[in-house]
């Protein structure tokens, strides 16, 4: 499969020489997100891998202004920026939180919930590498069932928290999932969201070579397989209307989806997983898709 990425801008706002690990899925998504957002963007970044990716003082890998902020504070800090830029008469500035899964689904959830309920005009993007990767692969509320982390050495017993659905319950105008294997989908969603006033929530699967235990040359393969197995579903909620996007559009029928094992076997973090646990995960995925079926066309 080949596709011309003719819609992707040449301009770079995440500069070369940044400190991301080779094959970092988050860095790829960030690069596309910033290309779509453009230069009139202010980033808010809590404690996460990107605090390091940005590079140490006095340099920065960002060609847009960045406020680094305490772990639990990003959505609130962005609320303040979003209100302030409007009050100070600055037009068309994108205020963007870029936070990891720990900073979003765990410690940052209260501030995120508040900011979403107040419907500030900002973007909140969670790059989800499914554990506390920056501190060395500890389990987060976003770690999938069965996955090894340094604090779940025999595999995670719980299931991943479904943040986009929690955001849906807040009634925010736009919600979308992202995946670095599908850059056109990322650009289309960010570009659409730029035209929407209010709170925009994005949840981006971010394969992590050191944390998920795969070779850094296979990030895109892992990311793509997450979609093809249905483990990661590409969709958007645009002002209440649910829509599948990208390859996920063709995966409603279970027969079209690959078995989850195709995704699991690419990653060392699932190496120990039992047959029973694989079937538990497959059932979990199938149930998610049953929920999706009920959402199609629903307002």
């Amino acid at each position: 499969m080949s596709r011309v990425l003719k819609t992707i801008p040449y301009e770079e706002y995440l500069l070369r020489g940044n400190a991301a690990c080779p094959g970092c899925g988050a860095e790829l998504t960030l690069r596309y997100v910033l290309k779509a957002l453009g230069p009139k963007t202010i980033m808010v970044i809590p404690a996460c891998c990107t605090s390091v990716i940005a590079g140490p003082y006095p340099r920065t890998a960002f060609n847009v202004p960045v406020l680094h902020i305490a772990f639990a504070a990003s959505a609130a800090a962005a609320s303040g920026i979003a209100e302030a830029v409007e009050q100070l008469g600055k037009k068309d500035v994108n205020v963007v939180v870029w936070a990891g899964d720990g900073g979003t689904v765990d410690i940052g959830l209260q501030a995120l919930s508040g900011a979403a309920e107040r419907n500030h005009n900002l973007f909140y993007i969670c790059y989800d590498n499914e554990a506390y990767m920056n501190t060395g692969i500890q389990k987060s509320g976003s770690t999938p069932y069965g996955a090894w982390t340094t604090t779940t050495p025999t595999g995670n017993k719980g299931f991943k928290k479904d943040l986009p659905t929690i955001m849906k319950a807040h009634g925010v105008p736009y919600i979308a999932t992202l995946n670095p294997a599908f850059p056109n989908d990322i650009l289309a969603k960010i570009n659409k969201a730029k035209k929407i006033r209010g709170f925009k929530y994005f949840h981006a699967l971010s394969p992590c070579p050191p944390g998920w235990r795969f070779d850094s040359s296979t990030t895109i393969e892992v990311a793509r397989m997450a979609v093809l197995t249905g483990m990661w579903i590409l969709y958007e909620w645009d002002r209440g209307i649910f829509r599948l996007t990208g390859p996920s559009r063709g995966l409603l029928n279970k027969e079209k989806r690959k078995h989850v094992i195709e995704y699991l076997k690419l990653q060392g973090r699932f190496r120990h997983i039992s047959k029973e646990d694989i079937e538990i995960l497959q059932e979990y995925v199938d149930n998610k898709w049953e929920e999706i079926k009920s959402l199609i066309g629903n307002k």
Partner: protein, 398 residues
């Protein structure tokens, strides 16, 4: 100038309105609530053109004003006690990021056990953070100091906390002079957007990871800004005095200190009782004075020394306690006198904790005690004022 009758909290709200903030972000806590209720009225009836963010926690209240200030907005928040502790992490972030935020702290004891009454342990937890800590003693001063705080904060690029006592000041109703908008605008012009504000035209990062080769200089720079703030506080007090006719003495307010043999150092509203006691004792020939500390950070060491050099004995009154160490003012004044090589006796008094009532008579007894200890040649003593006798003797425990 208009004469009004207001509570301390409403005086703060009027001062904030006249300071023309761009963004206010607050979370309710007793006894701060009437500050933010009044401010929300001002915003909603159009008297104040500001964004009012009703956040879901104090952690977010401080983070939101931090974010707003990082792009150049003038901001305000207010809190008390548990709320301050909940936002504590972000308070340090604000100081480290050098953002000129103004916060009202209606001082309240810390739980458990639950208490909504005044003591100063909450605001003094900020003392190592880089925040400037100012403390008012009455309704008029809450108003004056809040406006001054913006000028101080924006001059040295540090956040400023303005404290006042729960209920004793926050809900006490007193007459005060309110400056006109024109007068305040002249004193406090529109905020200039400083070099290190985030702007899309000139990208830079605030708070990047910093290695040991550079981190220490950031802290040293705050240290220098705190030192500079000593003069700034005095100059702002003077400039404000020209406008309002009210001068408080800068970092300290000296009452009968010039020829005193004994001076009591104190912060907050109880200073009024201490001054009353000193006035009574002066009539009886006891040469006593009261030095009210208005700035706990930066600590007015030089002013303390000027007094300490000329007295026989110093008393310190703490409506706070650093548990396991001592009264915070007491400990700091002993440190300063030692630092400057002065061998003056310092008697430490701790009282009024958790809102326990303080009366003029308590301070009369304190001065008499200081007089007695001075005659005996006692160098140091720590006394809890108003403690139930059976507890002091250890006959009963909680």
């Amino acid at each position: 100038m208009t004469r009004m009758v207001l509570t301390g909290n409403h005086a703060a709200a009027y001062a904030v309105k006249l300071s023309r903030p761009d963004v206010i972000s607050v979370y309710p806590i007793t006894p701060q609530t009437s500050v933010i209720e009044k401010l929300s009225e001002f915003v909603e009836n159009g008297e104040l053109n500001a964004r009012f963010i009703r956040v879901e926690s104090e952690h977010s209240a401080m983070a939101a004003v931090l974010g707003a200030a990082s792009v150049g907005a003038r901001v305000y928040t207010a809190t008390s006690s548990q709320g301050l502790l909940y936002m504590y992490e972000v308070c340090w972030w604000t100081a480290g990021a050098r953002l000129p935020i103004v916060m009202g702290v209606v001082t309240r004891a810390i739980a458990p056990p639950w208490s909504i009454w005044t003591d100063h342990s909450d605001i003094l937890t900020l003392r190592d953070s880089g925040w400037i800590i100012l403390f008012a003693s009455d309704v008029q001063e809450v108003f004056d100091l809040t406006i001054q705080a913006y000028k101080i904060a924006e001059t040295v690029n540090l956040p400023v906390a303005v404290g006042w006592d729960a209920f004793v000041v926050s809900h006490a109703i007193e007459p005060l002079d309110i400056l006109s908008q024109e007068e305040v605008d002249k004193f406090l012009p529109k905020k200039k957007v400083s070099e290190h504000m985030l702007k899309v035209e000139d990208p830079f990062s605030l708070g990047n990871l910093t290695y040991p080769e550079d981190y220490m200089e950031f802290r040293y720079d705050i240290w220098k800004a705190q030192k500079k703030a000593l003069d700034v506080i005095s100059n702002v007090d003077e400039e404000y005095g020209e406008l309002s006719g009210r001068r408080y003495g800068g970092t300290v307010e000296k009452n009968m200190c010039d020829d005193a043999d004994m001076v009591l150092f104190i912060i907050g509203a109880a200073s009024g009782d201490a001054i009353e006691a000193a006035t009574l004792l002066r009539r009886k020939g006891l040469k006593v004075g009261v030095c009210r500390i208005r700035s706990m950070r930066p600590f007015p060491s030089d002013e303390v020394i000027k007094i300490a050099e000329n007295v026989k004995i110093i008393g310190t009154f703490d409506r706070d306690i650093s548990l396991g160490c001592g009264g915070i003012i007491g400990v700091e004044i002993r440190a300063v006198t030692k630092e400057r090589g002065l061998d003056v006796p310092v008697i430490e008094y701790i009282g009024g904790i958790g809102g326990r009532d303080l009366r003029v008579q308590d301070f009369v007894e304190i001065f008499n005690d200081m007089d007695k200890l001075s005659r005996k040649g006692v160098r140091f003593e720590r006394r809890w004022i108003g403690l139930k006798e059976e507890f002091e003797k250890g006959e009963i425990n909680v």
